[in-house]
Every structure is written in structure tokens, then in C-alpha cells.
């Protein structure tokens, strides 16, 4: 292998891609529900829209469309974080998320574009189970994970450009440039036998923490980047111990059966999974936001597609865990809406906009809804 091939295809501690993927997917889901749902009221107001890309033409996304996309993407992303992710599902999350921000210039946050790039990387991450990423031994498993290296390089490029644009206007660029270099070094740490690299890792985390601690950010950009940095820069052994603790239930409780008739078990798994797939999206009914029911129903269809023949052929419990993760993610959406002000903010904002445009009838209905969810 050439040095370049060794860089991309060399070993990394599998705990890193495992944890980074789940952290970003879970953060993304709650970011969608808590921070983007309230903005949905601006979509379609006055029948005006300009999309990021010309392929959308004159399409004007309504609030219901946007909320449906947010519900679909969030529930599917969280379900993938809760159980072993699937490439098709991750590709759908990437498409849904990108559709969400790209359908309108109303969402022009660079952070959302970055998350789309990350999601593209995730599609090619190794689809690891907890048992593959965290072995029984104290030796952390390693393996080739080029998409994880690409993820680190993507992050490095972002900091590089922040530094470059800062330099172009005479601002200090040292900190983002250090962050950029730090990510390139961090992507090598698991294969490096040089002690200096391992000693330097906690020191290299410093610039990233300092940069984001002092970074004015309206979104969850800093929070997400700090979380990612924690996982990318952490010493392998620390990450391994942390991962083993977090994944203890997944590694020890989710066991496939070893006794009983395989056919009978397959039939039971099939029916229970099917019932679960019908019931899980019904959680969306209680969220009481336009478009969410459709979004949740589409997550069930996506999960069905992901399971494919596994649904009716396997005597193993995997379909059940997958449906269970969908259920968990749907319930998380409902709980998030019930315990946050996102739903109130949406209706309040929509009512104000309707009043501004002189639509008193719609404003009254929306005002009623806002009052119902006022906390």
C-alpha cells in the first residue's frame, strides 16, 4: 500500500466510528426537534420561497412539509443511534436532512451543511454492533474505517477555511488552523506507535475546546463539535472503557435465542415486528403538529425497507430490536414536544405571521393552539 492508501485505509479504534456516529445522530435528532421545529412557521408564509438549488424550481415548502421532513429525519436518525445502524437508513437520513435545509434559503446555517457532509460520511462508516466495537478483552478492537478518516479530514477542511477567511480579513487565524491540524493528527493516533502522538492528543484537544468555548454560535454547532472532539481526541483506552460501560445492555441483554423451534420463533418475530411497525408511527398523532403524522409513517416504511427479507426469514430477534428502536425514537419525539416549548413557539410564531398578513381567522386558530401548549 502507498503511504496515502495507508492513511485512508489504516486501522482506527472501532470505538471511535461507533460512538461518533451515534452521538451525531442523536444530537441531530434533538437539534431538529428543539431548534428547527419552531422555525417551521416561516415556511410557506406568503407563498414565497427561494431554495438553495435550482432543482426545486418554484416549489414552496409549507410548514407541514417541513415539519414532516423534520419528524422523519429525526425519528429515523435517533432509531439508528439506538440500534445497529443500516446504510439504507443512513442514506435516507442524509437525504431527508439535506432536503430539510436545502429546500429554502430560510435555513442558511453552515452548520447544517456540515452535518449533511457528515451524514454522507456516515453512510460509509462500518456498520458496527456493540459487540464488534467493544470486545470482551481489554484490547480495543481496531479495523479499517476510511469513512471515519474522511470524517476527520472533512472537519479539518472546515477549520482550514475558517482560518483562511479569517486571515483574508486580517483576523487571527492561529486557533482554527491549529484545530485543522489537530484533526489530521487525531485521525492517525490509533495506528501510531510514536508515544509523542498519544501524549500530544489531550494537548491538541485544547485549541478545539478553546475555539468553541469562545465561538458565538446560535445553533448547536459548538456543542456538537465539542462532543465530536471529545470522541476523536480521547485516548483509546478511555474511549474503550466508556464505550463498554455505555453499551453494556446492548452487548449483554440483546441476545438472540438459542433454544426453541426456529420456524415458530420466526413467525412470532414477524407478527410482533409488523404490529410494532404499525403502532410506532401512531405516536405522531399525539404530537399535534402538521405533517408529523406523515413523517412518522414514512419512518415505518423506511424501517420496513431496511429490514427487507430479514423481517420474515429470521428466527433471530433483530427485527424486534429495530422496531423497538423506532418506537423509542418516536416516543422521544413525543416527549421532546411535551416537555419543551418548541410546539408553543411554532404555533405562536405562525399566529404572529398570520396576523401580520391580515389572516385573522387562521391567526385565531393558531393562537388557540399556542395557548394550549404554553408552558
Amino acid at each position: 500500500m502507498t503511504p496515502l492508501a495507508r492513511y485512508w485505509f489504516g486501522d482506527v479504534a472501532l470505538a471511535r466510528p461507533y460512538l461518533v456516529l451515534r452521538f451525531v445522530l442523536a444530537t441531530l435528532a434533538f437539534d431538529l426537534w428543539l431548534n428547527m421545529v419552531p422555525h417551521a412557521a416561516t415556511y410557506g408564509a406568503g407563498g414565497f420561497n427561494v431554495a438553495h438549488f435550482p432543482l426545486f424550481g418554484d416549489f414552496v415548502p409549507r410548514a407541514s412539509f417541513y415539519l414532516g421532513v423534520l419528524a422523519f429525519t429525526g425519528v429515523l436518525a435517533l432509531s439508528q443511534a439506538l440500534y445497529r445502524p443500516h446504510r439504507i437508513a443512513l442514506a435516507l437520513v442524509a437525504v431527508g436532512y439535506t432536503l430539510g435545509w436545502s429546500c429554502s434559503l430560510l435555513d442558511s446555517l453552515p452548520y447544517h451543511y456540515l452535518l449533511s457532509l457528515y451524514l454522507v460520511c456516515f453512510v460509509f462508516f462500518p456498520m458496527l454492533s456493540a459487540r464488534a466495537a467493544f470486545s470482551r478483552s481489554d484490547e480495543p478492537p481496531t479495523g479499517s474505517a476510511w469513512a471515519y478518516v474522511l470524517f476527520c479530514v472533512t472537519t479539518s477542511i472546515v477549520y482550514f477555511y475558517i482560518a483562511a477567511w479569517s486571515a483574508s480579513v486580517g483576523q487571527s487565524y492561529a486557533l482554527p488552523m491549529m484545530c485543522s491540524g489537530a484533526y489530521l493528527v487525531a485521525s492517525l493516533q490509533d495506528r501510531s506507535t510514536t508515544r509523542a502522538v498519544h501524549v500530544a492528543m489531550p494537548l491538541l484537544l485544547g485549541p478545539v475546546v478553546w475555539f468553541h468555548a469562545t465561538w458565538p454560535s446560535e445553533s448547536w454547532f459548538s456543542f456538537t463539535m465539542l462532543g465530536i472532539a471529545g470522541l476523536v481526541f480521547a485516548p483509546t483506552q478511555v474511549l474503550h472503557v466508556m464505550g463498554r460501560t455505555v453499551t453494556y445492555p446492548a452487548r449483554n441483554w440483546l441476545q438472540d435465542p438459542t433454544h426453541g423451534g426456529a420456524d415458530e420463533r420466526a413467525a412470532k418475530v414477524f407478527y410482533v415486528s409488523l404490529i410494532g411497525l404499525v403502532l410506532a408511527p401512531m405516536v405522531g398523532i399525539f404530537v399535534d403538529l402538521p405533517g408529523v403524522k406523515t413523517g412518522c409513517a414514512l419512518t415505518a416504511l423506511a424501517t420496513l425497507m431496511v429490514m427487507g427479507r430479514q423481517l420474515y426469514l429470521t428466527p433471530r430477534y433483530r427485527p424486534l430490536w429495530r422496531v423497538g428502536s423506532l418506537f423509542g425514537a418516536s416516543l422521544a419525539l413525543l416527549l421532546t414536544m411535551q416537555t419543551s416549548t418548541a410546539r408553543f413557539d411554532f404555533y405562536q410564531s405562525a399566529a404572529i405571521d398570520a396576523e401580520r398578513r391580515g389572516d385573522d381567522e387562521a391567526a385565531a386558530v393558531l393562537r388557540d393552539k399556542a395557548e394550549r401548549y404554553q408552558r
Binding site: 492508501a5 485512508w8 485505509f9 472501532l14 416561516t42 408564509a45 406568503g46 407563498g47 414565497f48 420561497n49 427561494v50 438553495h52 434559503l105 430560510l106 442558511s108 453552515p110 451543511y113 457532509l117 454522507v120 462500518p126 458496527l128 454492533s129 459487540r131 464488534a132 470486545s135 470482551r136 478483552s137 478492537p141 481496531t142 479495523g143 479499517s144 474505517a145 476510511w146 474522511l150 479530514v153 472533512t154 477542511i157 472546515v158 477555511y161 475558517i162 477567511w165 479569517s166 480579513v169 483576523q171 452487548r251 449483554n252 441476545q255 405571521d353 401580520r356 398578513r357 391580515g358
Partner: protein, 150 residues
């Protein structure tokens, strides 16, 4: 020791897969380097999407946006952008986002009897007043900007 088996890590990619993957990696990385650089050749300086530039450049001038519509009967009436579109879109108009300004003018031209729509951004920066004019009808797509003072 737990009775739960440890699953093997994923196998390393084959040489063929490595070649294909390398091509994808090359394209993906190249795109990430090229896309931000396209800012340097963009017609609209306010359009800094996908460049990571917005993170370091937040210099929105304080502008006041107003609009007028001339109709076929020879009259001219003032439009209130904040009543026609969401205030977030008005913020884009104030920043002279070409795509949004064009779309706004085209949208107003859909009004029956509209002959010409003008959008004026009176800003407190060095560029002063910017005026965008669109003649409705045959030449709908042409938008002109007149910078009153520089």
C-alpha cells in the same frame, strides 16, 4: 468472562474496492476544497453559502427596504415587503441577496396589472442606496441594480 460472543471487526477492503473508494474519497475531498473557493467568482457577494466564510464575516449593513409597483393604469403604489413575505425573507432582501431580490420582484409581477416593480435598499454603508427594477411582462427575467452612491 461473559458468554456473549465478540463479533469480528469488518474485513479490510479488497484492492478493487480500495481503488473505487480512493476515487470517491478524492472527489469528496476535492469538492470540499473547491466549493468554498467558488465564492471568489460568485456574482453575488452576499452569497457565502457552503464556504465557511459566514462564520467569520458578519457585516450586515443596516438597511431600510422599501418597494413600489407601477401599474398599467399609470399609477404607482408602495408595497410593504414585511406584510407580503416573512420578515426573515425581508432580512435577505436587506442583505441584497440577488436570488431573493429577483424572486421577490418576479413574485410581485404576478399581481394583475403590474407593469414594473422596484425594490430599494437604503443602507448605512459605503454603497448607499441600491435599487432593483424589474419590468414585468416580456422581459421579466431582467433585474437591474442601480447603486446611487459608492
Amino acid at each position: 468472562m461473559s458468554s456473549v460472543p465478540t463479533e469480528p471487526p469488518p474485513p479490510p477492503p479488497s484492492p478493487t474496492l480500495r481503488r473505487r473508494t480512493s476515487l470517491f474519497i478524492g472527489l469528496f475531498v476535492a469538492l470540499q476544497f473547491i466549493v468554498p473557493l467558488t465564492y471568489l467568482v460568485r456574482d453575488d457577494p452576499a452569497d457565502d453559502r457552503f464556504t465557511w466564510r459566514g462564520a467569520t464575516h458578519q457585516t450586515n449593513p443596516a438597511c431600510e427596504t422599501s418597494a413600489t409597483m407601477a401599474t398599467v393604469d399609470g399609477s404607482e403604489r408602495a408595497l410593504a415587503p414585511e406584510r407580503l413575505i416573512h420578515p426573515k425573507w425581508v432580512a435577505h432582501l436587506e442583505r441584497d441577496r440577488d436570488a431573493v431580490v429577483s424572486a421577490f420582484l418576479r413574485k410581485q409581477c404576478e399581481t394583475e396589472g403590474a407593469l414594473e416593480v422596484t425594490l430599494t435598499n437604503a443602507c448605512g454603508d459605503a454603497e448607499g442606496v441600491r435599487e432593483y427594477r424589474l419590468r414585468c411582462g416580456a422581459d421579466r427575467a431582467s433585474v437591474s441594480a442601480r447603486r446611487a452612491s459608492r
